[in-house]
Amino acid sequence: MSERLDVMLLDDEPIVGKRLKPALTKIGCEVEVFQNPKEALDRINEKEFDIVVTDIRMDEIDGLQILEEVGKKSERTKVIMITGYAMMAVAREAMEKGAFDFIAKPFKPDDLRKVIARAAKALGSTIDFEGAST
C-alpha cells in the first residue's frame, strides 16, 4: 500500500465531515467526504478506499448496507461505524458483518484518530499516526 491513506467519510450531517476532515488530513489521510449514501456507494464502486468511516442511521441506505457493499468490493478495506443511536444489538450486528470498529457519537476527533491509527496498523501502514496526532 502507498503511504497515503485513502479515507471515505460518510455522514448525512454536514457538520461531521466538516469537523472530522481536517482532523484526519492532519495525520496524513486523503479524505473524501460524502453526505449522500448513494453517491458514496457509486464512489466505492469506482475506488478502493483503505478506510471507510460511515454513520449508521441515514435515509434510504443505512451504514450497515454500506458495510456490506464495501465488504463485497474489498476485503481489505476497514469500515468504522459511527452512530448517535448506539445500542448493543446494532454494535454486535455491525461487528458480525465485518466492521473494524464501532464508535458512539458524540466523540472527540482524537477518538477517531486513535481508531484510524489502529486500522492503519492492521493494513500494514508504516505511518506513525499516533505521533502525527500529537
Binding site: 454494535a91 454486535r92 450486528e93 461487528m95 465485518g98 466492521a99 464501532f102 464508535i103 458512539a104 481508531v115
Partner: protein
C-alpha cells in the same frame, strides 16, 4: 478479547465451568476470592458480602439498605477487574449489572438436577421429597433476590447470550462451546463497548463513595461526565447538590458532575405535618 460472565443455579457448578473455561481460553478467573480484599477495604465482614450476594433481605437478615451498600462494594470491585479484559467472571452477580456491553458474553449454566439434588442432600440431608422442595424454594429465592437487587430475573434465559443445560451436555463440551464462542466477531471489544464498561466502572466508583452519605443515589457516567439522581426535601436540595458535587468531583476520572434532586414527597409531608 471478550469477557465471559458465568451465572449458574449452583455456585459449585458455575465455579467448575468458570475455572475450566478460564483454563481453556487462557483468561484470568475472577470469583468470590476478591471479596476478602473488598471486605478489608470497606471494613465489612466477608460473610456479609456473601450474604448480600446470596440472600434476599429479610427481617432477621440484611436490610435492603445494607444489602444495596454491600452490592455496590462488590460491583465496584468486579467492574474494576472486568476492565482488565480477558477475564472469566463468576459468582459476583456481574450478569445483572454488566448490561449493554457487547463484548461481555453472558452464559447461564443449569446444573444436572440429579447432581444438584445429591449435592443438596449431602449438605442439608433429608429425603428426595425434601430436597425437591428445597430446590424449588432456592429457585424462587434467587428470582426474588435478583429482582429486588437489580430489577432483573436471573432465571430468565433472555438475559443471557447462551444457556447450557448440563443434564444434556457434558461439562467439558460446555466449556469448549463457551471457549469457541469467544472467537465470534460480535463478542469482540470495540471502542463503544469498552467505553460502556468504563462508564459503568466509573459510575460504580462514584456511587460507592456517595452511598456512604446518600443511600438512594443513582449514578450514570458518560466519559468524565457524571449524572447523579437523588431525593431530598426542598430546604436540603442546595446543600445536597453541593455535597454531591464536592464528593464526586474529587474522584479520579470525574470531570463534570450534574446533580438532579427530586422532591422527597414523603419526608416533605412528614416535615409539613410537624
Amino acid at each position: 478479547m471478550p469477557i465471559i460472565i458465568i451465572s449458574s443455579d449452583s455456585y459449585k457448578t458455575g465455579r467448575e465451568i468458570g475455572e475450566k473455561t478460564a483454563k481453556a481460553t487462557g483468561y484470568d478467573y475472577v470469583d468470590r476470592e476478591i471479596l476478602g480484599p473488598v471486605a478489608e477495604k470497606s471494613n465489612v465482614q466477608e460473610e456479609k458480602l456473601i450474604k448480600a450476594l446470596d440472600e434476599a433481605p429479610s427481617f432477621l437478615g440484611l436490610s435492603s439498605k445494607l444489602r444495596n451498600k454491600y452490592l455496590a462494594y462488590i460491583q465496584e470491585a468486579t467492574l474494576g477487574q472486568l476492565l482488565e479484559d480477558n477475564v472469566v467472571c463468576h459468582g459476583l452477580a456481574a450478569h445483572l449489572y454488566v448490561l449493554g456491553v457487547s463484548h461481555a458474553l453472558k452464559v447461564r449454566v443449569l446444573s444436572d438436577p440429579e447432581e444438584l439434588a445429591s449435592q443438596l442432600s449431602s449438605e442439608a440431608g433429608g429425603s428426595a421429597e425434601k430436597v425437591k422442595k428445597l430446590l424449588k424454594r432456592q429457585d424462587a429465592q434467587r428470582k426474588r433476590w435478583s429482582l429486588e437487587a437489580f430489577d432483573l430475573d436471573e432465571t430468565d434465559p433472555s438475559n443471557y447470550d447462551m444457556v447450557i443445560n448440563l443434564s444434556q451436555i457434558d461439562p467439558d463440551e460446555a466449556v469448549k462451546t463457551i471457549a469457541d464462542m469467544t472467537a465470534y466477531r460480535k463478542f469482540q471489544p470495540m471502542t463503544y463497548s469498552v467505553k460502556c464498561l468504563r462508564d459503568k466502572e466509573l459510575a460504580s466508583r462514584v456511587r460507592m463513595v456517595l452511598m456512604e452519605r446518600f443511600s438512594d443515589v443513582r449514578v450514570q457516567a458518560d466519559g468524565s461526565t457524571i449524572v447523579v439522581e437523588t431525593k431530598a426535601i426542598k430546604r436540603e436540595k442546595q446543600k445536597r447538590t453541593e455535597a454531591i458535587k464536592e464528593l464526586a468531583g474529587g474522584i479520579a476520572g470525574v470531570g463534570y458532575v450534574e446533580v438532579h434532586v427530586a422532591n422527597d414527597i414523603f419526608r416533605q409531608a412528614a416535615e409539613s405535618s410537624r
